[in-house]
């Protein structure tokens, strides 16, 4: 499958990435390789094999509904580039 310029632009928008022309070219090439690898996988005969989403046969891992202390706010916001009034501060979002 061919990855077009339009596809790269669209994926860039979805991923919130700004790519320059050379980055776009290399992303196109790499993505094409990944997609083409799927063709290789498609050659494998999978008749009778059930689709799976997890590698291990584990199920029902639960936690009981008991409150434990949260992390101190100072610590939680420590990595935030900007903060204000105990909140993470981000560029204005438009509704």
């Amino acid at each position: 499958m061919k990855i077009t310029d339009e596809m790269i632009d669209y994926i860039g928008i979805l991923a919130r990435l700004q790519l320059d022309e050379s980055e776009k070219e290399s992303a196109k090439n790499e993505m094409e390789k990944i997609i083409n690898y799927m063709d290789v996988l498609n050659e494998v005969d999978t008749t009778g094999i059930e689709a799976m989403s997890h590698a291990f046969p584990v199920k029902n891992v639960f936690r009981e509904d008991e409150v434990r202390p949260s992390v101190d706010r100072e610590l939680i916001t420590l990595n935030a580039p900007k903060k204000k009034d105990g909140c993470f501060q981000v560029p204005k979002t438009v509704e």
Binding site: L14, N60, V71, I76, T77, G86, C87, Q89
Partner: protein, 477 residues
């Protein structure tokens, strides 16, 4: 040209678990910003979610209560989008195998019964709260709500009128409250509805293009949003235009909906199975246990109230429509066994005082059994009705115990018939002008005399007795 409106509903309800869906942070509403946040719900790299068992339990409960099939093998998926309300840049939700499917809720509008089909119910996590900061023209993010468990209940497009939508939401809210899975406080956002709406001319069966209105959070606003959007779409069509499929935001203050920017809601979520959470397998035993523990649901309760207590359907609809009114009803009833009286008090004084004091029904907090006691005190003629209403107001506002309060304030009815007669005779003697009018045939005067007597008796006599004595004494004149 006449148009048919077709609507479907997506209802989000916050579950009343103590902790979030994937971590042990508290779900309590209203804490200081970012104080109910940990490394899991703030999306720190290297952390792993672990599912709260109670969320699954609640989902099964709602599924059974809405006649759904439980998907015994179900799992989570990732819904990817960038927005600062989600620190992971994806929401954990269920797309491919939602926990409940193919249910229905029965509603009744103007005597007409209708089943609204439920397409599916899935579990997911709520997002954080964005606060616009006008001073710095930026957005502040509070992740306290991020990770609070949600059920999304998706209906089929089975609604044709706003009334049907409101009836469905009322019933759904009652079911969620009865089963104890959510407090459904719309003003706190624990019940939110998105409305998908399209119109089509009656001459065609082909559905029109739909729009989605997001996060409308009161029943009245929903009714207005539906009417507004229906009109807007019809206008677009009549002017020769085409309705565009888009997400719109209903502005209840302006009474109009506005398109949200298309770039902001590029509907490409690239769902894929959530690798960090293992599948959920719900055994027959689990389902059977939840079924056996199911409380009486709104429809059954309504039917029982109608059959056993002979109450008016309107009153029963109001009372059974709210778990909180049901609690008042059942506790008061247990104390007096007078269903009609209890129902009348709820429909009258309880709701009147709730409105007067701007108290939500869930926040009414007097000892409900005391209402039953008060009803018995009226029945035994210890107090008359007007006094009982005053006593009830004290109960409602200050939670006084009626019997004690009546005693302490000397509000017992005057049982002494001689005293009543004494007062009546005195009042008649003091009001010769009224007597003269009465003799000329003015019957209204007796009401004035009645008032005077009750005043002298400090309102504590049985009005029937006083009336009878007045009639007797007038006849003697």
């Amino acid at each position: 040209m006449d148009y048919i409106t077709t609507m479907g509903l997506e209802v989000h309800t916050e579950l009343s678990t103590k902790t979030k869906i994937f971590c042990n942070c508290s779900t309590e509403f209203g804490g200081e910003p970012n104080t109910h946040v940990c490394e899991v719900c703030s999306g720190m790299p290297g952390t792993l979610p672990v599912l709260n068992r109670q969320v699954v339990e609640y989902a099964i409960r709602v599924g059974i209560a809405t006649n759904c099939e439980i998907t015994q093998y179900n799992k989570f998926d990732r819904k990817n989008y960038f927005y600062p309300d989600l620190p992971k840049a994806y929401q954990v939700s269920q797309l491919y195998l939602p926990i409940c499917r193919n249910g229905h809720i029965d509603i009744e509008v103007n005597g007409k019964k209708k089943a609204i089909r439920i397409h599916e119910i899935h579990m997911e996590e709520d997002a954080g709260k964005l606060i616009h900061d006008p001073w710095d023209d930026c957005t502040l993010v509070d992740y306290n709500r991020c990770g609070v468990p949600l059920l999304e209940i998706v209906s089929e497009p089975d609604f044709e009128t706003g009334e049907e939508v409101i009836a469905y939401l009322t019933k759904l809210k009652a079911i969620l409250q009865y089963t104890g899975v959510s407090d459904c406080k719309m003003e706190q956002g624990s019940l939110r509805a998105d409305v998908n709406l399209s119109v089509r001319p009656v001459t065609t069966d082909e559905l029109g293009t739909r729009t989605e209105m997001k996060n409308i959070n009161s029943f009245k606003a929903i009714a207005r949003a539906i009417e507004g959007e229906r009109k807007r779409q019809i206008e677009v069509i009549e002017e020769g235009g085409r309705v565009v499929q888009e997400t719109r935001r209903w502005d209840d203050n302006k009474g109009a909906s506005f398109a949200m920017r298309s770039k902001e809601n590029a509907q490409d979520y690239r769902y894929f199975p959530e690798p960090d959470l293992v599948p959920i397998e719900i055994s027959d035993e689990w389902i059977a246990r939840v079924k056996s523990e199911m409380p009486e649901l709104p429809d059954a309760k309504k039917a029982r109230y109608l059959a056993d207590y002979g109450l008016p359907e309107y009153d029963v609809d109001i009372i059974t429509g709210s778990k909180y009114l049901v609690e008042i009803f059942e506790q008061a009833l247990a104390a007096c066994n007078e269903p009609k009286e209890v129902s009348n008090w709820i429909m009258g004084e309880v709701l009147r005082l709730a409105t007067e004091t701007s108290t939500d029904v869930e926040d009414i907090s007097f000892d409900f059994a005391n209402l039953g006691k008060l009803i018995l005190l009226v029945k035994k003629n210890v107090v008359n009705r007007p006094t009982a209403k005053e006593v009830f107001e004290k109960m409602f506002r200050e939670n006084v115990e009626p019997e004690q309060y009546i005693k302490e304030n000397g509000l017992e009815m005057v049982q002494d018939d001689n005293l009543v007669r004494e007062v009546v005779v005195k009042v008649l003697a003091d009001n010769p002008k009224s007597i003269a009018e009465w003799k000329e045939g003015n019957e209204k005067v007796t009401r004035f005399l009645m008032g005077q007597c009750m005043k002298q008796l400090k309102g504590k006599a049985d009005p029937g007795t006083v009336n009878a004595v007045i009639a007797e004494e007038l006849a003697k004149l």
